[in-house]
């Protein structure tokens, strides 16, 4: 029973670490997905005296994905009821050119400012509407969300590290007598530590399997998926190969580190 309790305490500590790492990964993905979503709906409007070719916009900044000219027809339709076709064509010739520039990703306020400056370097452009007020609010909201989740993940990580250190002391106490007795009969360090490393690796494997099951469940859970869909994004909650590889590696590294600290810190008491 005591043995199961000791196993559980390390497994729970490892699970907390793995869960906080995965929360961080999913948050990153969600924010990126949301940013992509915003990027597709976001465009900078440019007003120019002259025609500007799409290549000109593309050459201005790497962030530019494409550009399209906004046809003035919809504006003219509203006022064309009392005009004849000839007048309309004359008005069209006198109107400035409107362009909608789509970006590769959702830019930061600094990137928007840089893009605006580059656009104004073209002398035919005399007006740029970057919707910076709305953009700033959304972007800052995203950063705030990311910050809150990161702080939360770091707190969990810190608490877990404290748990791990408590576990380290328990393990040191538990294993030091056996290691000392083995040392009395001339067991080399590797043989004295083998039980400890085996336990650590077994606990790491158990934790990884448990987190795999837990995250696999969450990744197909309709309620969880609905939460992401409700904000218009599709996020991979758990990549059963790449994410598992990361979590498994972390679990093994933490366990082996813990066992190594015990071996290094071991003092013969006999």
């Amino acid at each position: 029973m005591q043995s199961i309790k000791n196993h559980l305490s390390l497994i729970i500590a490892l699970l907390s670490i793995l869960a906080s790492i995965q929360i961080f990964i999913v948050t990153e993905r969600a924010i990126n997905a949301y940013k992509n979503n915003l990027a597709t709906n976001y465009a900078v409007i440019v007003v120019s005296h002259k025609i500007i070719k799409p290549d000109t916009f593309l050459a201005m900044d790497d962030i530019v994905l494409d550009s399209q000219e906004i046809a003035p027809d919809s504006v003219i339709k509203k006022i064309n009821s009392k005009m004849d076709a000839k007048d309309i064509e004359l008005i069209k010739l006198g109107l400035p050119r409107f362009y909608k520039i789509h970006l590769k990703y959702y830019p930061s306020p600094v990137e928007i400012e840089q893009l605006t400056k580059k656009l104004f370097q073209n002398h035919s452009i005399y007006k740029v509407e970057d919707f910076s007020n709305i953009h700033d609010k959304t972007y800052k909201l995203l950063l705030l969300f990311k910050g809150v989740v990161s702080v939360f993940a770091v707190i969990i990580l810190l608490v877990t590290i404290l748990l791990i250190f408590k576990e380290l002391k328990i393990w040191q106490f538990k294993h030091s007598e056996r290691m000392s007795i083995m040392g009395l009969f001339g067991a080399p360090i590797w043989l004295r530590s083998v039980v400890l490393f085996r336990l650590a690796i077994v606990d790491a494997i158990i934790s990884s399997i448990l987190i795999f099951i837990l995250l696999s469940y969450f990744s197909v859970n309709p309620w969880v998926l609905d939460q992401f869909r409700s904000v218009g994004i599709e996020v991979m909650i758990f990549d059963s190969f790449n994410d598992f590889l990361v979590l498994f590696s972390v679990s093994i590294i933490v366990s082996i580190l813990l066992a190594s600290l015990i071996v290094v810190g071991h003092k013969e008491e006999l």
């Binding site: 043995s3 007598e177 056996r178 007795i181 083995m182 040392g183 009395l184 009969f185 001339g186 067991a187 080399p188 360090i189 043989l191 013969e268 006999l270």
Partner: protein, 223 residues
């Protein structure tokens, strides 16, 4: 006769404390049975600790089994300990291991085959009269039975030297007698050198022995 232990001007002290054993000279012949007595705190257990390398000499030289313990490396010390059996008053058994696994320990460390280990453990369990307790853990046994397991462990790998620190200190008469018989037979039949630290030497012992007494940091031959 070969000397298993040779100490010259040996001084022993725990770190930052006064000298407990002060410039002693003594030697132990191979195959002999030696008692070291002395009052509590006289340094007899300290001397025994130095013989298995748990305490390094402060001054002088100490050679055990042909290996000098002054400034010995961990690797050499491990090698030496593989040829020594140790018995403690508080048994020092691994509580989470069965008694068989405890007895196996020196055999595993010395790299014996599994078949040899199994046969040796069976034979030792019979020898210490604990066959009926096979599969149990140390804490499920009485003190006397635990000490018999510790004896079996000390004998398992046919060591050249057995060091025993108050081996019968906590035991009933039956277990004490059995422990002395086991030490005697190891000495007589296998020519194992036995060094026992104790308060009193048993009257019933049927073996020639040497007796040293420690007092005020010095060792003196009594018998």
């Amino acid at each position: 006769m070969d000397k298993v232990i040779m100490a010259e001007n040996l001084s022993l002290a725990y770190s930052n404390s006064e000298t407990i054993i002060n410039k002693i000279n003594f030697s132990v012949d191979s195959g002999s049975f030696v008692f070291i007595t002395g009052a509590s705190g006289s340094g007899k257990s300290t001397l025994l600790k130095s013989l298995y390398g748990a305490l390094k000499p402060k001054n002088g030289s100490l050679i055990v089994g042909g290996v000098s313990l002054a400034g010995i490396s961990k690797k050499k010390l491990n090698f030496l300990r593989r040829h020594i059996g140790i018995v403690f008053q508080d048994y020092k058994l691994v509580k989470e291991w069965t008694i068989e696994k405890n007895i196996q320990l020196p055999l595993l460390i010395n790299g014996y085959d599994k078949n040899v280990i199994d046969n040796q453990v069976d034979s030792l369990l019979k020898h210490v009269r604990l066959m009926h307790q096979a599969g149990k853990y140390p804490l499920e046994l009485s003190g006397g039975e635990q000490q018999r397991v510790a004896m079996a462990r000390a004998l398992a790998h046919n060591p050249i030297l057995i060091l025993a620190d108050e081996p019968t200190g906590n035991l009933d008469d039956y277990s004490s007698k059995l422990i002395w018989n086991l030490l005697e037979s190891a000495n007589k039949q296998l020519s194992t050198t036995i060094i026992v630290v104790t308060h009193s030497i048993p009257d019933t012992l049927m073996v020639d022995y040497k007796h040293y007494h420690i007092e005020y940091g010095k060792i003196n031959a009594v018998h």
